[in-house]
Every structure is written in C-alpha cells, then in structure tokens.
C-alpha cells in the first residue's frame, strides 16, 4: 500500500497522472459556490443553530460516576427543587455521566439542586459539578471571535501578499479559507451539533489550518511558475496544475497526520468524557481539516489560476505554447520571445515529461 501511494506520488510528480484541478476550474468553483450557498441556507432553513448554554445563559450541572443513567431522576429533582426553572434538559452525555441544563437558578437553588442531584444519583460531593453562565457570555465570546476572524484575515491577506509578491495568491487563499469555515459551520448546522465557545475556537483554528495548507501548495505553485515564460513545455495553467498534483501526496499525508490526533481527542471526548471542551474543539477541527484540504485544492488553486490566466502576458505565452504544439512555430526560434521577460531566474525542467 505504501508502494501504491509512492507510485501514485511518482506519477503525479512526473505528470504521468494528473487531475484537472485547473482545467476544470469553472466546475470546481461553481461547485464550491453552490456548497457555500447551501451552507448558508441550511441554518436559515433550520431556524438557526443549536446554541450551547453559553449562548443561552443558564445553570448547568454535571454528575459523573452515576450508575443509573435515567434522565427522569434528574428532571424530577429539578421540578421539585426549582419549579420555576424552564428549558430543563437532562441528558446522558457519556457513559456514567449526566448533564442537566436549565434557566438560571438563584444561589440557594443551585446549592439545593446540587445536593439533591447528588443524593438522587447516589454519588459523592466530588462528583457533581455546577456552573452558571450569564446570558452575555456567549455573545462576548462570539464577538471576540469575529474580531479575531477579521484581524486574522486582514493580517494574513497582507502577509501573504508580501510573501508571495502577488495579491492574487492571497486573495485566492482567503477565498479557500472562507469556503472552509462556511462549509464547516454549515455541516455543524446540518447535523445539529451544539455550538459552544470551544467549537468557535475550533472554527478559528481551522482558519489557521486552511491558510497553512494553502501556503504550502502556493509555495510549490510559485516555484513551478517562476520564469514560466522561459520554458516552452507547459502553459501557465498547466504549471499550476502540475504543482497542485505534485503536492497532492503531501496534502493527503498532512490531512491524515492532522486528523489522526484530532480523531483521538474526538473519540475520547465524544465517547468517554462526553460533551465538553475536548469534543467540541476536536469536532470542529476534524471537519475543518478535511474541508480545509479540499478547499485549497478545489478552491484556492483553481481560483488563483482563474485570476492569473486572463493576464495579457500569460495569454501571450499560452498562445506561444499553443503555436509550438500545433507546429506553427519551431522550438528553436524562441529568441525574441524570451527577451521580453523580466529576466527572472530560469527554472530548468529536468525530467522530460509528456503531458499527453
């Protein structure tokens, strides 16, 4: 199997096997746009997100090491001790762990309910955890997250434009990033995962991941397209496509290696600890890493190609390659063509490649 992936990598590297990421760019971009629109429509159609208690405000109790996982035990206690509490939800969030959420209780009620839950489920004082969240807490976290999102996007936009020396690359990378975040949030809405501050942080981390992935692929694109006008084998678009194909094995390896530890946290978080920081964070990351890798390949790279291919100079070069291929120009007379380049360093292609 390792050999299979290795051969796959070899073929992608030489161009023997190639996926039309650039050639079919309009298809990919249209598909991406569709998915984004869907992701926006899903929460609208479902009437909003499933917001966690941090956004609603209220009191929460977690009872661990319970034997009896019957929610009605907890519900009865709450109805008895805090009759005016509404939105009561008692759930079995993980093996031997119960969680009760309700509207805000007073201090004395909190103590009362805590004690009664402890007795009813037959656990010790050490096993009951209580928390209270003000209604503005979640909103605070969200506002901060938005500030973070905007600050990060602007800084990344500038930083990448400086690093890659072209705003078209940074714009495409940001497009891939937004695609990733919107789709991830859309999936969250679709499967009704609870949105908590931890999930929001997961979303923010995806930003970093998605951009990170784009930088690696774009670095290869830059390398391949450097001095493109000096060579006569591939058009600009083909160079980009080759770069994406050449980094495909890396992209796959990266997502696997990224998803493995996140999957481990997700497994522990979801099946053993139950809802909480670990599960929410890793769920967002798990979805985001996969979508992020796809976003780079199917959104950022095709979009960059689309942005560049309409440039005059590139069109001229494409025409020139076209002419060579159809035999209108002989390979040897390229003297006057290369003289209008900016004298950038020559990228010498070592392997003879047939593009078929």
């Amino acid at each position: 199997m390792a050999n299979a992936l290795s051969t796959f990598g070899n073929d992608l590297h030489s161009g023997k096997r190639s996926y039309p990421f650039v050639g079919k760019r309009n298809v990919w971009l249209l598909l991406a746009t569709l998915l984004v629109v869907l992701s926006i429509l899903v929460p609208v159609a479902k009437g909003g997100f499933n917001l966690g208690i941090d956004f609603r405000g209220g009191s929460e109790f977690t009872v661990s090491s319970v034997e009896n996982e019957d929610p009605s035990v907890g519900e009865k206690i709450i109805a008895e001790k805090a009759p005016e509490a509404h939105d009561v939800r008692v759930t079995n969030i993980a093996p031997n762990t119960m969680r009760a959420q309700m509207s805000t209780l007073t201090d004395s009620q909190t103590l009362d309910v805590k004690k009664s839950l402890q007795d009813a489920y037959g656990v010790s004082d050490q096993d009951v955890t209580s928390s209270f969240v003000g209604p503005t807490w979640g909103a605070d976290v969200t506002r901060q997250a938005f500030v973070g999102l905007i600050a990060f996007v602007i800084l990344a936009l500038i930083g990448m434009a400086l690093y890659f020396r072209t705003w078209k690359m940074s714009l495409s990378a940001i497009a891939g990033l937004l695609f990733t975040v919107v789709i991830t949030v859309g999936i969250y809405a679709l499967v009704d995962f609870e949105i908590t501050p931890s999930a929001i942080i997961g979303f923010l981390t995806i930003l970093s991941y998605s951009l990170y992935d784009s930088v690696v692929v774009f670095d290869k694109i830059r390398e391949n397209t450097e001095g493109y006008s000096e060579q006569k084998k591939r058009t600009f678009g083909e160079q980009i496509n080759l770069a994406v194909n050449q980094t495909l094995v890396r992209s796959i390896n990266t997502s696997v290696v990224g998803v493995l530890p996140v999957g481990a946290i997700l497994f522990i978080g979801a099946f053993i600890l139950g809802a909480g920081t670990l599960r929410d964070l890793s769920l967002a990351l798990f979805v985001g890493i996969i979508v992020g890798t796809i976003g780079t390949i199917l959104v950022s790279a095709p979009m960059y190609a689309a942005l560049r291919l309409s440039e005059k100079k590139i069109k001229k070069h494409d025409q020139y390659i076209e002419d060579i291929r159809s035999g209108r120009v002989k390979e040897e007379d390229e003297g006057d063509h290369s003289s209008d380049s900016d004298g950038g360093s020559v990228r010498i292609e070592v392997n003879p490649v047939n593009l078929g």
Binding site: G134, T136, Q144, A151, Y212, V215, A264, S339, N351
Partner: protein, 570 residues
Amino acid sequence: MAKRSPLAKSRAALVSMAALIIVLCAGVFGSTFSGGSWGTKLALDLSGGTQMVLSPQVVGSESDTVNSDQLNQAVEIIRQRVDGAGVSEAEVSTQSNKNVVVSVPGNLDAKTRELIQASAQMDFRPVLVSAAPGKVADDQKTPEKELPKGDKKPENASDQNWITADLWRQFENTDCAAASSDKAENQDPKKAIVACSEDGSEKFILGPVEVKGTDIQDASHSQVSNSSGVSTGQWGVNIQFNEVAKKKFEEVTTRLYSFYGANQQDARARFAIMLDGKVLSSPVAQAVITDGKPQITGNFTEESASALAEQLKYGALPINFTIQSEQQISATLGADQLKMGLIAGLIGLVLVFIYSLFQYRLLGFVTIASLVVAGLISYLAIVLLGWSINYRLSLAGIAGLIVAVGQTADSFIVYFERIRDEIREGRTIPAAVDHGWVSARKTILASKAVNLLAAVVLYVVSVGSVRGFAFTLGLTAIADLIVVFLFTHPMLSLLARTRYFGEGRRHSGLSPESLGAVPLYRGAGRIRKPEDSDGLTIAERRRAARAQTQQASSAGSVPTESTGTKEAGE
C-alpha cells in the same frame, strides 16, 4: 553562507539542540529551589475548583466597559475581598481587558461569593469610639447597667447617643482577626456601625455616613509642604471634593476640630474613610477644611500614600460586579479530564508514529524522534512558564498540544516530500537532502508564520479557557521550528551520508527505484565524495552549459545558473 562542510554544520546544530535542552532542564532544576517543580501547573478544569468570571461596571456610567486603570482597581478590590474572606491560593486575574477572573481551589461558600459580587462603596463616617482590635474578655466587659442607652435622639453624626446597648455589646464582641466582621451591605448608612481597620489594628464605632466616596473629585499623593511652602519630606494624600461635599466637609471638620481643640486624644476628632466595610484610614481633623481640599498626613511612605490615593480615586468610581460565568469543577472530573486528555494525546501520537513509519519507512523514525524532541522542549517550556509567569495547563491547552502533533509532523512531511521530489528529478540522495531543505525551509518558515500569527490573534482576542489552547498552539509552532532547524535537518544530513540512507536502500524511505527516479543518475553519489558533489544531474549540467554558450553568443539576459546550482553550496 559559511563555508563549513554540511557535516560540520549538522553536528554544530545537533550540539546546540542538546545545549538548548540542557539549558531548559537546568532552568527547571534551578526553579525547583524557588518553588518550581518538574510537573506542570494545572488549571482549574484539571485540578478541580471554582472559577468565576466577573465583569466590572462603573456604577452610573453609560459605557458598559471599564478602562484599564479601573480594571486594575477592580482586580485589587476583588483580591482584597478574597484574601479577606480567608480563601487560600485564590488567583485573581484579568481577561481580555474587561473581565476579572477569580479562581479558587475547591468550592466557594455562599458568603464569599456574595462578598465578591458586592459593589465597592466608599464612605466617610465620624469616629465615635476606638479600641484595640481583639474581643473584650468577658470579665472586662461593661456591666449591664452601665451600658450606654442611646435613648436620646442624636443631634449630629458625632453624637454618642448613636451608641445603643446592643451596638456596644457587638463592639465588645468584635474580633478584627475573624473575617466575618465586615459586610458592607449590612452597614446601614443612616446608623452607627462597628468596623475594623483594614490592617486589623484597631476597631471602631462609627457614626452615620456624612460624605460619600462618589463626592470625591480627585485624589493624589504628594510631598507635604509647610506654611512657607517648603517641602517637609513627608508624604501626604490630597483629596478634592466636589462643590456639594465641600460645604458638608466644612461642617464636619468644624465639629471634629472642636473635639480636637478640647482634647487632642479624643477619638471623636477622627473621621474614618471606609471602603468595602473596612476603615482604610482614620485621620484626625487638625483644621477646619473650607476649600474641600483636605490633605491627610501621617506615617506615609511614598508607596502607601500612592496606594491610598488610588483607593480614594476608585471610591469616586464605585464598581459593580456581575457574574458572567461560574464553574465548579469537582476534583474527580478534573482528574478524569486530565487522564483522558493524556490518553487521547498518547493515542494520537502513536497513530502518527505508525503512519509515518508506514509512509516513510525508516525515515519515519526521524519524524518520531523529532516529535519526541519537540514534545520535550514544549513540556520543559510549559513547566518553566508555570514557574515564571504562573502559566497553568488547562484541558484546552492539552487539546492544543495534541492538535499541534499533526501540525508539527507536517513540517517533516513537507521536508520529506521535497527530498523525494529532488530524488525523483534524479539527484543523489545527499544532494537531494540539501536541495530539498533549501526549498522546504522557505515553505516551512512561511507556513509556521501563519500558525504563529493565528495563535497570537487567537490568544489576544480569546476569552476563557481558549487562551490556553492558543498558547500551546503558538508555543509548539516555535518548538517545531527549533526542532526542524536544529534536529530534523541535521539528522537527515548526517543520515544521508551513511551508506544505508545515502544509497537509498530498500527500507530507507528514500529508495530512488521506488520513487521512480531514472536509475542512471543514482550511482553518481557513490563515486563522488559528498563534499564536492555539486548535486547536479547530468541533464542540469547540460542545460547550464547550453545556457552559458547561449549567453556568450547572444549576450542576452539569461542568467548562467539555475536556481538549483546557486543554492547548492549553502
């Protein structure tokens, strides 16, 4: 670029890596002599305890945020309250420049919680009686029939008729060392009360409130000057009242000064400045203040004068606290979460190990070793930060560390894939390692910069436990860079010069055959010594030669070297 051989450079890098680890270890070892330990400090969600997020609000202010001065004052208020309530090991800190976070091990009792939430109030009351802070022994107590009656209607705030028999008994029974004596909201502003001084050195019976803290316009500290304007070298605190209080304060000082005139030792010549139910300061009125600008003098140092002035300033701005969130984590749950977090990390790590061995064969061991080294530096750094800036590892922090495993491993993937690309293009393995490094280095630096930027932005904007996540994410990005430069690359350079890896044997992960390189070029590395290998393939050399002749004939702008040759000597 230094002209040292790659071999020497690699060795130097590995030595500096070892030196860094030794320095970190020595740092941790050194810290154990001043309260540090070899373990990380744990946050509340792992050790169990209560955490409250409070948002301070200035009473009567339009804006719902406070500035940084007010926030610092708020932290001070809360810290004093928590300490006053006798809670040990409490931590009070600020969060995103607007909230105050109180963390205490164990549970908070209802009384302490109430105390923490109460709004800070400053009042000025006249002193009626003062005494030593301890409880009066039963045989020393005033006999029943000699108790003050307090039956006449008091004429002014300094009138002894405020003292009732009950109040007197309460005064006698008060022990300032016990924390329970101070509840600001139980002190009726219209009646006399019993209170202790803040440092617990004195207890008082005080008359009703005469001037409120909100009437203070400003407070400052300065050196005291005598009547001829020459500085005496003493420190004093200056208060400036507003127009309304100016008049009132004149009345008060007139009355108090008359007591002072009759008997300088009379407790009634003093007025008490109260904050949060405790007496901050109880100066004697030595003059009638008509301009609303009293100066308090005494045994102040510059520091204590400044502290009192600060406290007076915030008396002018009473701060309310609302609880944003409160979490009680039981110790069992904390321990559970820590255990599970570690297990998750271990599983993740093992999966990554297996995958790298599967993908990169023996080269995978370099990934594993690099991850272990990166983990070691991160751990030592966290321990050191725990000791120096009190950084505590939270569950989110552990999640950050685990997520970082994947991102760290990716640096190695980028590097290894580059090397494989170079081998596919026909380079010898040692040359491929050097060339691959040059291009991978750029990519790794750029992509880690993105990670670091994200971590910093997350850290700056985030609230709550999330900070721990951003923190470890950033920390590991740095550790990753150090490891790639000082460990992974030098290791690979050295390995590429061994026979097994240099010739790309079957399980080395670099085998040119399985990478589909054209076999003709493979032998080159064996014949040439690694040092003088220019790492060029035959095709490249041919191209370079052609470019040279072309340049000679056309004197065109085509550079003579390919990017590859330029960087080969680095």
